[in-house]
């Protein structure tokens, strides 16, 4: 009986340059849904929690979900699962574009890389044909050129993912890039690829459809989802017209737009870096991932060529967080981030931290000769320092390419790294929005909004409004969003589909695709299982409960001005309740919780 799983994975040993195809167990796949969940299970079982992330012993897994490549809306995602170097935690990055779907069509649900090549290599897949090729000519190439060269060699119907110079230099801010401007970002997953001397993976496939278990049910679920997309103002108009960039004015409007490395939370010049401004002056057209009807991507023009424009996160991080209101500089800095394969959140947040170190006299002018001063509002600095970090141009740039935690430690000023678990927090001030702070603090991979995007209820009123200033009820809310997100990611669909769809629609799609019979509650429970397994991974990796926290600035320094003036995060009120609703003690799942989630037998210590 067909399912949307291929039930095959490719295992590539880079040390001896061999590969083999392995079967995937259907029951195990269903239990962990696929993608993020299933690959985490493999990583955990392989004992990667205790290895050095940049050693040959770490596994680097690329996995798609059961819905990747199907007609389900937004279903083009693949995930990169590995132990991430930025903080020695579970690495779990996710990207759109077309690469993930192409891998599905070629006949694989995942590729597992082990070992390390002795010289730069790349992988080429064309259905059953698999080749490990020399990549010394590609080493050092940036995203656009790398993508163009691989397209020229393998044709228009191929898709490639690759690392840029940042990944080659083992930057903790390096991403895996695909389709030029799509990134599986955060955590330094690009450095894991670089540590293995793996530059790129190109995939071709002779088919472009996936067989579902129940084709009629799949068609009906697909149609229902599309109807919901059309009825929903966000997925039908909001995201297509303005992309994520539209959040700049909203988040600034409530006084939650971190400004100058979180010293403030309101940026008077926000309008100049807003989604409205971007759409009016620079937008050429929308960008779509594989078969996505929303098309939230921003395509702008640069030197006569269409390139990806900034999303909300880089608009914020290069913009208000660096005090910059010059949109052309932000567009250029964002482009350079993609070119070097740098994290478009962590790179600008590290520049912001450097600007605060400059402001306070830790970084001396002589340390950045040849480069523009790291002064608030300096548009030239955000562009030039991004390039310098990508190139490893001088000692300070090399240090900055390791992220704000390492940078601030170096100056003995860790308080200026706005990070949680040593990964920088994103674009929503946790003092002004209580639930998102609890989510940052408890995120398994470190400061991240897309583990549990409570901005939906707390700010956008989706599906219903929750008071952003309240702490009560946030523990349940954060758990719900984290579990649902783990399940959605694992399916291989974009998180933005959840503005219109709920657990019931996802469960219906999953069941039709794979022959499962999950209720919406069981679908959520699968997400909870994944979240708990990630936590077990972190426990084995040496995580301590105290790491479920945020910087003192967020916990103790009230927002100085703007609509949310006077607020701080009340994490200490929410965290004990969160552990209680999760069935965790001291930050980790109890035996009873693991038994309830049917993962008690996985525990390795």
């Amino acid at each position: 009986m067909n399912t949307t799983y291929n039930l095959k994975r490719l295992r590539v040993n880079l040390t001896d340059r061999t590969w083999k195809v392995e079967p995937i167990d259907l029951d195990e796949a269903k239990k962990y849904i696929g993608g993020r969940g299933l690959a985490t299970k493999w990583l955990y079982d392989a004992g990667c929690a205790t290895v050095d992330p940049l050693s040959p012993e770490n596994l680097l897994i690329f996995a798609n979900g059961p819905l990747t490549g199907t007609n389900s809306p937004t279903a083009g995602r693949y995930m990169v699962i590995t132990k991430q170097p930025i903080n020695n935690k579970i690495g779990s990055a996710n990207s759109g574009g077309t690469w993930g779907a192409r891998l599905k069509y070629a006949g694989y649900d995942a590729i597992i890389f082990e070992g390390k090549a002795d010289a730069p290599v790349r992988l080429f897949i064309d259905d059953d044909h698999v080749e490990i090729l020399d990549a010394s000519d590609l080493w050092g190439k940036k995203s656009t050129e790398c993508n163009d060269i691989l397209r020229d060699i393998h044709g228009e119907k191929s898709n490639s993912l690759y690392i840029g110079p940042a990944g080659e230099q083992l930057s903790m801010l390096s991403c895996v890039m695909n389709d030029t401007d799509r990134a599986a970002g955060r955590g330094g997953v690009g450095a894991v690829m670089g540590s293995k001397n793996l530059k790129a993976i190109t995939v071709k496939a002779s088919r472009n459809i996936v067989d579902a278990y129940d084709k009629e049910a799949m068609k009906a679920a697909f149609k229902r989802s599309l109807d919901l997309f059309k009825e929903n103002g966000v997925t039908s108009t909001g995201l297509p017209t303005y992309g994520t960039a539209v959040l700049v004015n909203i988040i600034n409007g409530i006084g939650a737009l971190p400004t100058k490395n979180w010293q403030e939370a309101h940026f008077p010049e926000a309008e100049q870096i807003s989604g409205e401004e971007l759409a009016e002056k620079y937008l050429v057209r929308r960008g779509h991932c594989h078969r996505c009807t929303i098309g939230c991507g921003r395509v702008i023009e640069r030197e006569g060529r269409e390139v990806g424009g900034p999303e909300y996160e880089p608009l914020w991080a290069y913009g208000s967080n660096c005090g910059v209101s010059d949109l052309p500089s932000i567009n250029e800095a964002n482009f350079q981030c993609n070119e070097y394969g740098l994290d478009a959140i962590g790179t600008p947040t590290t520049i912001a931290a450097a600007m605060e170190l400059w402001q306070r006299g830790y970084i001396k002018p002589e340390e950045n000769k040849d480069l523009p001063p790291l002064k608030w509002g300096n548009g030239e600095a955000i562009v030039e320092w991004t390039k310098a970090m990508g190139e490893g141009k001088n000692e300070l740039a090399k240090l900055m390419a390791q992220g704000s935690a390492i940078l601030c430690d170096h100056y003995d000023a860790p308080q200026y790294s706005m990070s949680s678990k040593r990964m920088d927090m994103p674009a929503y001030d946790a003092r002004a929005i209580q639930g998102i702070g609890l989510n940052y603090a408890t995120s398994n991979r470190g400061g991240c909004h897309v583990r549990g995007y409570t901005i939906s209820p707390e700010v956008l009123g989706l599906p219903v409004q929750s008071d952003r200033t309240e702490t009560s009820g946030k523990a349940e809310l954060v758990k719900l969003f984290q579990d649902l997100t783990a399940a959605i990611d694992s399916l291989g669909v974009c998180l933005f589909s959840s503005f219109a769809l709920g657990a019931a629609e996802y469960a219906t799609l999953f069941n039709a695709a794979t022959g499962s019979s999950l209720s919406p509650e069981e679908f959520l429970e699968a997400g909870e299982r994944i979240y708990n397994l990630e936590r077990l991974f972190n426990k084995d990796a040496g995580m301590e409960q105290a790491e479920d926290s945020m910087p003192d600035r967020v916990l103790k320094e009230p927002i100085p001005s703007g609509p949310s003036a006077g607020m701080v995060s009340k994490l200490d009120e929410m965290l004990p309740e969160y552990y209680a609703v999760r069935g965790w003690v001291d930050g980790f799942p109890t035996k009873e919780t693991l038994e309830r989630l049917l993962i008690a037998s996985e525990v390795t210590n």
């Binding site: 966000v234 995201l239 992309g243 539209v246 909203i250 006084g255 999303e311 909300y312 609509p563």
Partner: protein, 73 residues
Amino acid sequence: MITVKLFATFREGRGKEQVFDEQVLRTPRDICTELNIPPDSVGILLINGFHAAFDDELKDGDLVSLFPPLAGG
């Protein structure tokens, strides 16, 4: 006086900002009627940066922000 800020598609034909007299338009609902914006087409309504209801009483100096249904990530 009340300042009303408009965002995204609400700017079409209305501009970015308008000013009203709170003696005349007493609630966000009145403002929506004046601006020909059906309340059910409003995604987010803020008064001074906090989520508010259409029938909340407005006072001198208030800043009202109106957004259509929007989201991001």
